[in-house]
Subunit: 204 residues, 2 copies
């Protein structure tokens, strides 16, 4: 694509490095910014740069944070004996938005994936084990909230092995089954099969 | 949506002001930037700010430009007697990418739209008339390359009226008809009707 301006071209090239944004979309975004007030662009550029350079990670749970301890770990009203283990910060945000969880988190920073060269030592697994086994640790339950993919299941299996020696520790996995509003006939066989085997007794 | 960090929240809010980008996509983009090297974000922020603050518009054709005269108007190899009138800079880029046009452009900056309160005086119409009628003007042909929508047709009609008094000036419109690869049965009636009435004789 030819551009009438180097400035536009640079902006389009940088925008199209973002995931899911191609050259055409990038051009549309750039021209939108040109039409909008200068403040829109100034605020966007500043917010992105500030986010990237000023953000830190919580020393306990490795979630993104504005300070050395994230607001969830610092909150004494939350249940610090229950730790929900997730792959990514996005999962923390998703679970927080359900409003159903009162415990704390541990962000692994990914899942074990031999194909992409991600091993256990590349993830925050040692710090989870330390956090759980350290003297005076108040952790009593680990909830594995990892996506049920091949890599996710491998990671969950590895974590169970690492943690099974810890006394008085309950390890659970988030429930799997037919999603709310899901149609049985469109569910895959493995999900449907497991949801029958692991059927839940109804309260009477 | 709750965010574990004010910095992330600000970035998401600013990103989601862009057209076609909702909160979820904005969060995905923000987390992508956090995982990527700091340079990616620094370059993006700088390219956007530079584009918005340093860009100028060509004094002749009103296209975006890095200097007072755009590279197309400054190019003496192009045919300055033919002016292609378009609504938007995006159209200049689209036509340039066909590689089929050797003339110059005139960017109106929009189309006449009473509903959105855009009148002829809000567009670069007077400068087009001046450019065409000025003494010593070399303009001999005006190609109206405006989208065939209600507003576009109104704008084209208005321009034809304003320019019809100019002597020795040919005014043309880009060809309309069935697009390449288009199926006749899916074409709308007006397009199909016009493409029969305005049929083109085949060279033998």
């Amino acid at each position: 694509m030819d551009f009438p301006s180097k400035l536009i071209e640079n902006a389009v090239v940088e925008l199209s490095r973002l995931p899911g944004i191609g050259k055409k979309t990038a051009l549309r975004l750039a021209l939108h910014l040109l039409k909008a007030e200068t403040d829109t662009t100034a605020n966007l550029a500043e917010a992105l740069a500030k986010m990237r350079f000023d953000i830190t990670y919580c020393g306990t749970c490795h979630s993104i944070s504005d300070s050395a301890e994230c607001s969830i770990c610092a909150n004494q009203l939350r249940d610090h004996s229950t730790v929900c283990v997730v792959a990514d910060v996005r999962d923390v945000i998703a679970i927080e938005n359900t409003g159903q969880y009162q415990g704390v988190y541990h962000v692994l920073g990914g899942v074990i994936s031999p194909i992409e060269g991600v091993g256990p030592s590349d993830l925050h697994i040692d710090s989870l084990v330390t956090r759980t086994t350290a003297e005076g640790s108040e952790v009593r339950e680990i909830i594995l909230a990892i996506s049920p993919t091949m890599e996710g299941d491998t990671t969950a299996f590895y974590l169970s092995r690492r943690l099974r020696e810890v006394e008085h520790l309950n390890i659970s996995t988030i429930a799997r089954g037919i999603p709310m509003g899901g149609e049985l006939e469109y569910a895959d066989e493995i999900t449907l099969g497991r949801s029958i085997v692991e059927r839940q007794r109804q309260a009477r």
